[in-house]
């Protein structure tokens, strides 16, 4: 925040945010920043406040103290739709796909530019969005089952579909809340590749438990503990951090 270089590329600043659930502080004066194009992993033991951090950024919960600054604007009190409109989209922990729709319609809904209902009385996928839908379906490996109903998809495919939807919105900041939950090693690897393939075109904030996945992502890691910032660094330095080991890796091992 102090250096000119970093403020120019600064995309998101979570600034001293406290979320108070009637005395229990899910976030307690938590701060972090994200640079444009960066991939960041947030880890921490259960109850560290990782999902609450996502909830705060997308406007699902409102901070009692602190600010969330996105591209220089405080978004912490904006309505949810306005925050999405600014270019932030989140993948939920349990796959939040639309089960009664086809795979293609799921992505098409996310890719739609005009989201007002009265502008959606036409038929099919508008030509301008067709290309995005095709590209995303290729990217997440679901092009072959585009006309299938999304509900009966395998769990891993649902996760990919929702990641695809989040990317299809064109959001600049993508929040992925446990994208590999319930996945096997092969699927986890594919998910890491998928995130890598975004390169620096998007800023990605990933929350996950799985350390092998975190290593595959090879990104800067931020560690949370009891709603507070604990440590930050590359995977190797976090591995060696005694404090982190005590609160997190110690439990996991």
């Amino acid at each position: 925040m102090k250096m000119d270089d970093s403020t120019r590329d600064l995309l998101l600043a979570v600034d001293g945010v406290t979320i108070d659930y009637g005395g229990f502080k899910a976030l307690d004066g938590f701060s972090m920043t994200l640079q444009k194009g960066e991939t960041r992993v947030v880890i921490g033991p259960n109850g560290a406040g990782k999902s609450t951090l996502c909830d705060t950024i997308i406007g699902r919960v409102r901070p009692s103290a602190g600010r969330v600054v996105f591209r220089g604007e405080d978004i912490s009190q904006l309505p949810e739709q306005a925050i999405v409109g600014r270019g932030i989209c989140r993948k939920f922990q349990a796959p939040g796909i639309l089960s009664g729709l086809t795979v293609e319609d799921n992505v098409a809904l996310a890719a739609r530019r005009d989201r007002r209902w009265w502008r959606n009385l036409g038929f099919g996928i508008p030509a301008a969005e067709r290309e995005t839908v095709d590209r995303i379906l290729e990217m997440v490996g679901l092009a072959d089952c585009r006309h299938r109903e999304a509900g009966p998809l395998a769990h891993g495919q649902k996760q990919w579909l929702e990641i695809g939807m989040v990317i299809a919105t064109g959001a600049e900041l993508i929040l992925l809340d446990e994208p590999t939950a319930g996945m096997g090693p092969a699927e986890t690897r594919r998910t890491a590749e998928l995130i890598h393939s975004l390169g620096d075109s998007r800023t990605v904030l990933v929350i996950d438990h799985d350390m092998s996945f975190v290593e595959q992502l090879n990104a800067t890691v931020t560690v949370m503990h009891q709603g507070k910032f604990l440590a930050q660094g590359d995977v190797a330095s976090i591995r060696q951090n005694a404090e982190v080991a005590a609160v997190y890796l110690g439990h996991a091992a």
Binding site: Q81, R90, F92, G96, L98, S99, L101, N120
Partner: protein
């Protein structure tokens, strides 16, 4: 059954599949053809019943829109049905009166003058406009007030039922302006046409049939459009939609308002055919019955809803004239059986059967 066995024995035989495909094409058109010539096939009494039931089927189509595809269970559609019916009935009461007189039930209740809000209903055009606009406006405001507070599901169903109860109670308690428990009845003409003339009876039947077809086709298009996708998406994941940047409330309000409009149209047509509208047709029980028609027919299917509305009402007519006290029990039993054994209703069962035959 024999077809299924045959096709199992001879996998290469395509006869049952072809027969099924042909039947699927022919049956709807045959039924429409029958419906068009029904005035010459049925007695006046049965034709009148059929016309009433077709009016009710228009309401059922609206329930497919909001319940099947929107996930909104309304137990209060009798209100919009009633508003449509009463608006037209008010006009038909006034049009028969000599200059300066007021309807008989008002006199009996000790009123001396027409309430101010009855007066514009002397114009048939005002009545037709009001019978559509008033219910649509009420429905829009009501469901917006509920949905924008993010109240939904069972809570919405209960609130809508309370609305039906309140409406029926209001009608009964204000006898001097609503006709009370007896409702409004004894109509003779509309737009100058005598309602008992055979040509008018036939004409009104065909108008009802035409409106039913129009509602069916219109909703078929709407459900196939991107709006239909938005509505089903909102049903499956309102939160997901919100965090994709959609606003779920207006989508639900638009669908609900349209379904209320269809209910109002159904109510007006029903009143025209039945010659009466009363609180017994708009309260809690009728509102639940409407949902049962659609549950039995299949709540995801427009055709199913029409079939459900017609079948149950025909059955109701037969059973309740023979054993009046039995009907409600039978209806309750039917509802439980359908919900537990056939969640997609008759339409779902038919589709499954067709797929079974075709798949072999």
């Amino acid at each position: 059954m024999s077809e299924a066995v045959l096709s199992e024995a001879l996998p290469q035989a395509t006869a049952p599949r072809d027969a099924m495909a042909v039947a699927q094409k022919i049956v709807p058109w045959a039924l429409l053809g029958l419906a068009i010539v029904a005035p010459w096939l049925l007695s006046t009494y049965d034709l009148n019943l059929l016309a009433r039931f077709m009016a009710m089927a228009i309401l059922a189509l609206g329930l497919v829109l909001i319940w099947g595809h929107g996930g909104i269970l309304s137990l209060g559609h009798g209100v919009f049905f009633g508003l449509g019916g009463y608006a037209l009935a008010m006009h038909m009461k006034l049009v028969d009166l000599p200059q300066g007189e007021i309807p008989d039930f008002m006199l009996w209740s000790g009123r001396e003058a027409l309430p101010w809000w009855w007066e514009p209903f002397a114009s048939p055009w005002f009545a037709v406009a009001a019978l559509l606009i008033v219910p649509a406006l009420l429905a829009g405001l009501f469901c917006w007030a509920v949905f924008h507070r993010r109240v939904g599901g069972t809570y919405f169903a209960l609130i809508s039922q309370a609305l039906a109860l309140a409406f029926a109670t209001l009608l009964i308690s204000r006898q001097d302006v609503t006709g009370g428990f007896n409702g409004l009845t004894q109509f003779s003409s509309l737009f100058g046409f005598g309602l008992t003339r055979p040509s008018v009876v036939f004409g009104l039947y065909w108008i009802t049939l035409a409106l039913l077809c129009l509602a069916f086709l219109g909703l078929k298009l709407l459900l196939g459009s991107r709006f239909g996708v938005l509505l089903r998406a909102t049903r499956d994941g309102e939160n997901r939609m919100r965090f994709l940047g959609y606003s779920p409330t207006p989508i639900k309000v638009a669908a609900f308002t349209l379904s209320a409009l269809l209910a109002a149209l159904a109510g007006a047509l029903f009143t025209l055919h039945a010659g009466v509208i009363s609180p017994a047709m708009v309260g809690v029980v009728p509102s639940i019955e409407m949902v049962i028609w659609v549950a039995v027919g299949g709540r995801y299917s427009l055709a199913g809803a029409i079939v459900g509305a017609l079948l149950i009402n025909i059955a109701r007519d037969r059973v309740s004239s023979a054993f009046p006290e039995l009907w409600l029990y039978l209806m309750g039993l039917l509802f439980i059986v359908v919900v537990t054994l056939m969640p997609r209703g008759l339409a779902g069962a038919t589709t499954a059967l067709i797929e079974k035959v075709r798949g072999r």
